[in-house]
Symmetry: C2
Subunit: 367 residues, 2 copies
Amino acid sequence: MTETATRGRARLADPGEGIGLDELALATRNHGMPLEALRHDVTPPGLHYVLTHYDIPAVDPERWRLEVTGAVDRPLELDLTALTARPALSARVTIECAGNGRARLQPRPVSQPWLLEAVGTAAWTGVPLAAVLAEAGITAGAVDVVFTGADHGVERGVEQDYARALPLAEALRPDVLLAWEMNGAALPPQHGAPLRLVVPGWYGMAHVKWLTRIEVLDRPFEGFQNAKAYRLKADLDDPGTPVDRIRPRALMAPPGWPDFMTRERFLRPGPATLSGRAWSGRAPLRAVEVSTDGGATWGAADLAAADPAAPWAWRAWTAPWTPEPGRHELVVRAVDELGAQPLEQEWNRQGMANNAVQRVPVTVLPD
Amino acid sequence: MTETATRGRARLADPGEGIGLDELALATRNHGMPLEALRHDVTPPGLHYVLTHYDIPAVDPERWRLEVTGAVDRPLELDLTALTARPALSARVTIECAGNGRARLQPRPVSQPWLLEAVGTAAWTGVPLAAVLAEAGITAGAVDVVFTGADHGVERGVEQDYARALPLAEALRPDVLLAWEMNGAALPPQHGAPLRLVVPGWYGMAHVKWLTRIEVLDRPFEGFQNAKAYRLKADLDDPGTPVDRIRPRALMAPPGWPDFMTRERFLRPGPATLSGRAWSGRAPLRAVEVSTDGGATWGAADLAAADPAAPWAWRAWTAPWTPEPGRHELVVRAVDELGAQPLEQEWNRQGMANNAVQRVPVTVLPD
């Protein structure tokens, strides 16, 4: 890793400052899931959110190898044929970007400017990471497992291959996968071909794409993405706490139809059904609540039962609504065993894990 | 079509005004093709640019019908089984959004804020439109053919299903397709499932998605998307001229690696190969030219021969470059039989068809 002087620290936007061309360049290449795609239980690949820190790397699957090294008894070098010959599992998993909601924060941390749409659910197929680690033989005293991708770039002056560590206990969970398929097809380039990590319940930064190397460490990992980038910090001097599991969130497919430019919603009066999905990576979901009066009063939505085969996938919810003509503000919140989504932002310096509730202004037209 | 008062006309951003949350909401749901994907001759579906005016509609392919009506002898109503039973063609076609380059214009028309990346190439499979029109029997005096999609919304106060007309002569071209497949698979929802129009050589607004209705008119179409939205206008009073065929453009996959936030590029010194793709919908391509000194001097790139089987698909180009350490500005331009891409913007009121050249600042590191 070499230091190249670009910029040292993430910036906060000034009050009222619009989105800059740097943020826009990220927004036009990364993309969210249009919220009407909440109708799909499994998000079609091109609608699943994508965040790529650097460029999507060109990986030749024939020449690609996965190295398993560090504090292990038997270092491994595996090709795709060797990996895909193993017994595979499939799991439907909801993944959300840790930066989802960032562009709504005030003041706004300048980075990828997500509003609400950085989420998606896919069926991932691969081999349990624990099985590969068992084959390599983890030595006593191992602490962290570092996953390195083929994507290369600079971030706040640090040149790096993207690398993230998991605590050993998380890496050994039986549902953490080394995945080569998404929704029954080979991984698309932007989703990590030929191999990516899937860590159900964690925000997206943990699901390392274009995986080339797994290193077991006998000490905590101090790399950029763990020590600096993905932390909940009050200010620049705060070392902060790690971003890890996904906070609860419910999203609504906005009803009616939009204005092209403002994305305002319009609807005809009469019986309607509000619908969407809800999830949490930190604790079981308990309820979804809907308000049609801007949060003054709340009612329980009908929440689909948890699927025991997919404990980390979002769950559908619906709520009937028969609106009168006029302006309404719809609000939805998920409640898990640890509490409800906040009505107001819980600000932090890098704009991580903002799960403040979605608000959907709707104009119901005259009869 | 009912008028709902939202906003009357597209706005121009003030000097120095950042991108607004309304523009950002469009940028996070629509998405461009990350420029490193220029390495793919056929763009994988999730990397192909997408622009959806309103919401992606939920169309049930079992209940879906295509109506062919208006100035025809035999109105038709076709289901998917009837359509897909016909002899089909496949064509590799490059499609670019008419708004590509808009966010670089000064002053900036406020709409979908594309930088450079609203493009993609796919293999589309379907039946020639001309065959279906022949079956319906176009009556003498027909002028325009209107294509209506299932997507519904409001635009500058006009509630509408998205609808665009083609002049009859364009509609009768043998290479205009009613397509149900993209790259050998059923159309994804965001690309127009179950059926879309493909008009090779034209900007994206002509390729109507989620097609439900084809109407032959014996008079010019006066609908919003032809008469108001997609026009090259000097100012609000100018009726303007229609946006139609794609102007020439060459794009470069930026070399080296990026800074996450600024997207600045870094590279090591030594021999490199610059590469990308070039296309034009208005005239045959003649050359691609590259400058490595900000446009002071130019050299011819090596442009791949045109593929007679894909006259409307982009062509690959390469150019060798052995840079010295320091800052460089790379520029690339396509030249077609009608001329070269402009070095400076050709501004218009709605920010359409801005094909000013791409500029790529690159820092080459010390040896």
